[in-house]
């Protein structure tokens, strides 16, 4: 699974958790906070994405990305290590 596939899973989880974003375009350069996603929702999205790809990594190792593209890249890198 490459970074783009993980990005698509992130989008699916965002739209599942925030139905209001169903028709809103989401790009790799978007940050979830800028899309109006609050911190609890960001946590839900991250955990449900990790569950979808069956990747167990501590949440603290996923801090740092500035946008969804960087987050997908980081998750991909962690996934590749396992």
């Amino acid at each position: 699974m490459d970074s783009n596939a993980i990005f698509q899973i992130l989008i699916n989880e965002i739209r599942s958790i925030i139905p209001e974003l169903e028709d809103h375009p989401i790009a790799r350069g978007d940050a979830m906070a800028d899309l109006g996603v609050n911190s609890m929702e960001r946590g839900d999205i991250l955990v449900s994405t990790l569950e979808a790809i069956e990747l167990e990594v501590p949440m603290t190792q996923l801090f740092g990305p500035r946008n969804l593209g960087e987050l997908a890249d980081l998750i991909h890198a962690k996934s590749a290590q396992q």
Partner: protein
């Protein structure tokens, strides 16, 4: 807008919201109380179904879908008890018309604890083998602050919000706390909400194991199982419910259901389910004294009346010792089941609705009454204009409460139509 000038006026109920097995809203509750439809069946929600070899639990569940005012992104994160609370509070809020009240002068007391235990049991089952994937939101969803927090994040309540627990007396204890908050001037308006007790299968099994929950003899006839104060009673029957009452100082220019003129809570020192007639009587005496009434002034009693053999027997002793043989008495749990944390609140709502209707609801399955020396409403509605009502509510852990409700004064147009 509530009257904030006459700070000695009695406490009035200006809005009521309710949900029971008959549906959402007071009209559904009235239909349940005065209609003939049976609400009892077998419990079917996920997390409550028995294994095939076990006897299923009898009870009442709210109909789906649950009406909501929450946006989808919030709705999806809120448990059953919270979603029902918002719906019920919405009805009470708009009836009381308190949109113009300073939010800092509005309080909320939620009655009940362990309100989400069915969903917690499902989550424990789901995530016990994959704890890494627990949604972060569980960090606050398991707390008993959750229902109140959903309400205050949806409605402009900024005075205070807290949750009190007194087992099956939680709804009345929340009401007593709300009365105190208005009486003391802490807030001008306080809402008491008896929250839905969302029981899990293990909770139900616990009640069955302790012998509190019926009913083995009526396992194939659920509509006969809830029979408080009647021969062949074997225990209480659960019924999902929720109710909210908006309490403020009486302003005769504002529509209201009636007044709450006295209330008391007595702890009797029991840890478990054991009832205590002395403490029940003491609570009644204290509530009557506060209301400035005598026992003979009471013309209607809404009992706690769960249907457990010892509970009913003890409560009957209380009625007799108090001399309540001239007041009409009925058993709301025979119609809508036992809502546990919600019971006291929805039964207070039932008293006000009967006051408004000018009739008393029947007692289902009262055949025959355990004590025929008392004045029971039979199996048909009874025409009666309530003037002064006494409501009892008791809870495991030694809680005994009594509360006095009075009809709106005949002076001035004041009763909700």
């Amino acid at each position: 807008m509530p009257n904030q000038h006459n700070n000695k006026a009695p406490l009035a109920v200006t809005g009521i919201g309710a949900a029971c097995g008959a549906g959402f809203g007071k009209d559904a509750l009235k239909q349940a109380l005065f209609g003939t439809e049976n609400l009892f069946s077998f419990l079917e929600r996920p997390g409550r179904r028995c294994e095939k070899q076990d006897t299923p639990f009898i009870g009442i569940e709210l109909p789906e879908p649950i009406p909501t005012i929450l946006p989808p992104r919030i709705e999806r994160t809120v448990g059953l008890s919270g979603r029902v609370a918002v719906s019920v509070l919405h009805e009470a809020w708009h009836e009381a018309n308190i949109d113009t009240v300073d939010p800092g002068r509005i309080g909320l007391v939620v009655g009940g604890s362990g309100l989400n235990s069915r969903e917690q049991a499902i989550a424990a089952d789901t995530y016990s083998k994959k704890p890494a994937f627990i949604p972060p939101r569980y960090g606050h969803m398991f707390l008993d602050t959750e229902v109140g927090a959903i309400c205050t994040s949806t409605f402009p309540i900024r005075g205070f919000c807290h949750t009190v627990n007194a087992a099956s007396a939680s709804g009345v204890v929340a009401t007593l706390q709300a009365m105190q908050a208005v009486s003391s001037g802490q807030v001008d308006v306080c809402i008491a909400l008896g929250a839905l007790q969302d029981l899990s299968l293990i909770d139900l099994q616990g009640f069955r194991a302790m012998g509190a929950m019926g009913s083995p003899s009526f396992a194939s006839t659920p509509f006969e199982a809830s029979r408080p104060m009647s021969q062949d009673h074997e225990g209480f029957i659960y019924g999902e419910a929720c109710a909210a009452l908006v309490i403020e100082r009486l302003d005769t220019n504002r529509a209201h259901y009636g007044t709450l003129t006295g209330g008391a809570q007595v702890a009797d020192g029991n840890r478990g389910p054991e009832p205590n007639s002395q403490a029940q009587q003491q609570a009644a005496h204290m509530a009557l004294q506060q209301a400035g009434l005598h026992i003979e002034d009471i013309d209607y009693v809404n009992g706690h009346a769960t249907g457990t053999p010892l509970g009913d027997k003890t409560e009957l002793e209380t009625y007799r010792e108090l001399g309540l043989n001239k007041a009409w008495i009925n058993t709301t749990k025979s119609i809508i089941g036992h809502g546990l944390s919600a019971a006291g609140a929805i039964e207070l709502a039932a008293v006000f609705l009967q006051m408004q209707q000018g009739q008393l609801h029947p007692c289902r399955n009262m055949n025959p009454a355990l004590d025929t020396s008392l004045k029971w409403v039979g199996t048909a509605p009874q025409q009666h204009i309530i003037q002064n009502a006494l409501k009892f509510s008791f809870g495991f852990g030694g809680t005994n409460t009594a509360i006095v409700l009075q009809a709106p004064s005949s002076e001035g147009k004041s009763q909700h139509a």
